[in-house]
């Protein structure tokens, strides 16, 4: 069984140390995610691709407690077997805050300010039996 990313161009994969792919404004240095043209901070048109840091701190979080509608969601939406998942913004120092799934969904184990690291997690299987993967942040042990 092979693993395929949910999309190309959002994170580096396959990789032993995957990174999110963002943009940096050529004029003012502002970071953006995902890749985009045009800087929302200074209005300059030119940006360049940049790999974002793999570690940061949890800025805020919630837990997705019910199955999202599918589409657009590609993961398990069966109410009997759905498992809640964490969602948060992780502050990457000197860059920006990125929204992401979290590998932890227990409110008792999540706290604002905790150290997080990027990982790649399974999301679902496609019709060929491949495992579709996306990015998430995991608490640093």
């Amino acid at each position: 069984m092979s693993q395929v990313p949910v999309t190309e161009g959002v994170f580096t994969w396959p990789s032993d140390s995957p990174q999110l792919i963002g943009s940096r404004c050529v004029a003012c240095g502002n970071h953006m995610f995902p890749v985009q043209q045009g800087c929302p901070k200074c209005t300059a048109a030119e940006t360049e691709e940049v790999l974002l840091g793999r570690r940061g701190t949890l800025w805020t979080w919630t837990v997705q407690g019910f199955p999202p509608k599918a589409p657009p969601y590609a993961g398990n939406v069966d109410p009997k077997t759905f498992e809640a998942f964490g969602v948060g913004y992780v502050e990457l120092p000197g860059q920006l805050k990125v929204e992401s799934r979290l590998t932890e969904a227990d409110p008792e184990k999540l706290r604002i300010g905790m150290e997080m690291e990027l990982v790649i997690v399974p999301l679902s299987k496609d019709s060929d039996g491949n495992e579709i993967v996306t990015f998430a942040f995991a608490p640093v042990a």
Partner: protein, 382 residues
């Protein structure tokens, strides 16, 4: 010198679920009721701005109301659709182009949380596929951070819902008219931590229409004209934290609500202390809490004491969401902002019945917020 503008007629179709009646038909009912309230016929209306998110192009309703040839412009601005229609109608009269017009909003959504159109929102398919395209998550994350920074408790969030359902129980147009206790709110299923089911509003159905006239001609239609002192819509600036954002900047900006609020107060020549009551966007109970401060009605963190003390109840120092807000009325996106104005007109006319704010209120404020980071504010006075 611009012309002053008055609201001279209001109409509403009941919010909630009306099976077998399309969203547009609910809009038509609202228009007919507004015309009756102002004592005008549809052919008297010179222009219209109208919109819905999910219930069709508003201008097609002329085939039901009458083909009078009026200027009818569709507005599509997400949660600020109603506010944008009102802004446009207000300025059309102020500029002197027309004397009498109507702002219309209606909608009808499928059950459950909004299904986000990621492409239409400028987002990649991966975003929804990965489980991030839910507006509910934003609200959970924003209030979670806010509680961490300002010490708001879950009891306060639940009290906001309890108030909404109590006010809704006194509103014959509301969807949810059964009071729900603070305890029931806290014990309902956790949808998006720290927010439970009864802390969230639901997408719903309904329609609202408001007839506006030059203030110097308002007496032709009503003996209780309510003057529109400000109508403002603002989009987000860099650094604000908004719904459906794959990333946000490190630096912090207060957001479109703060900008819209300041602009509206400036336009009206008034301040927060001059307001007698407010309808504030309460997509969920935490939103009402945060929007109290963002609109200038208190400092961040003061809500904890104010709500626990009952200040925002109908009989309190500063009533908020007297008609039950989005929590009790649901959110038909195109109609929601106009529903707030409808309620404020009733309150300022003294026609709000069991939920009438005491002591003869003279000024009232509305605020909507929604994707992708827009805010609309109006200020009314007698």
């Amino acid at each position: 010198m611009s012309t002053e503008v008055a609201i001279v007629g209001i109409g509403m179709h009941e919010f909630g679920r009306t099976d077998g009646v399309s969203g547009m038909d609910q809009g038509v009912v609202a228009v007919r009721r507004a015309c009756a309230d102002a004592g005008v016929n549809w052919e008297d209306i010179q222009f219209a701005f109208g919109g819905s998110m999910a219930a069709g192009a508003a201008d097609t309703m002329v085939s039901l109301l009458g083909l009078t040839g009026l200027q009818f412009i569709n507005v599509a601005n997400g949660c600020a659709t109603g506010g944008s229609a009102l802004f446009s109608a207000y300025n059309t009269i102020r500029s002197g182009v027309f004397d009498l017009g109507i702002a219309i909003g209606f909608d009808k959504h499928e059950r459950g949380a909004f299904r986000v159109n990621t492409k239409g929102g400028g987002l990649g398919d991966w975003y929804g596929a990965s489980g991030l395209a839910l507006t509910t998550q934003f609200f959970g994350m924003k209030i979670n951070r806010y509680m961490h920074e300002y010490g708001i408790t879950q009891s306060t969030l639940a009290k906001v819902s309890e108030k909404a359902f109590r006010n809704g129980s006194m509103n014959p147009m509301a969807w949810r008219r059964k009071p729900i206790s603070e305890e029931e709110v806290i014990n309902s299923p956790m949808l998006s931590y720290p927010l439970t089911q009864y802390m969230f509003c639901s997408p719903g159905e309904g329609g609202v229409a408001l007839i506006l006239a030059r203030a110097d001609k308002a007496h032709l239609y009503t003996d209780k004209p309510i003057y529109l002192r400000a109508a403002v819509v603002r989009s987000r600036r860099f650094g604000s934290f908004e719904v459906l954002a794959p990333s946000i900047a490190l630096e912090h900006n207060a957001g479109p609500t703060v900008d819209a609020s300041k602009a509206a107060f400036e336009m009206a020549g008034m301040g927060p202390k001059d307001m007698d009551l407010a309808q504030l966007q309460d997509t969920e109970s935490g939103a009402e809490v945060m929007h109290m401060a963002e609109n200038g009605f208190c400092e961040h963190g003061e809500q904890e004491f104010m709500i626990q003390a009952g200040d925002t109840e109908i009989g309190g120092k500063f009533p908020v969401n007297t008609d039950g807000g989005c929590l009790a009325n649901g959110e038909p996106v195109g109609a929601s902002g106009l529903r707030q104005v409808y309620e404020n007109v009733l309150q300022l006319r003294g026609q709000a019945g069991a939920r009438q704010v005491p002591n003869d209120p003279k000024t009232a404020y509305t605020h909507v917020y929604g994707a992708p980071g827009i805010s609309g504010v109006t200020i009314l006075s007698r």
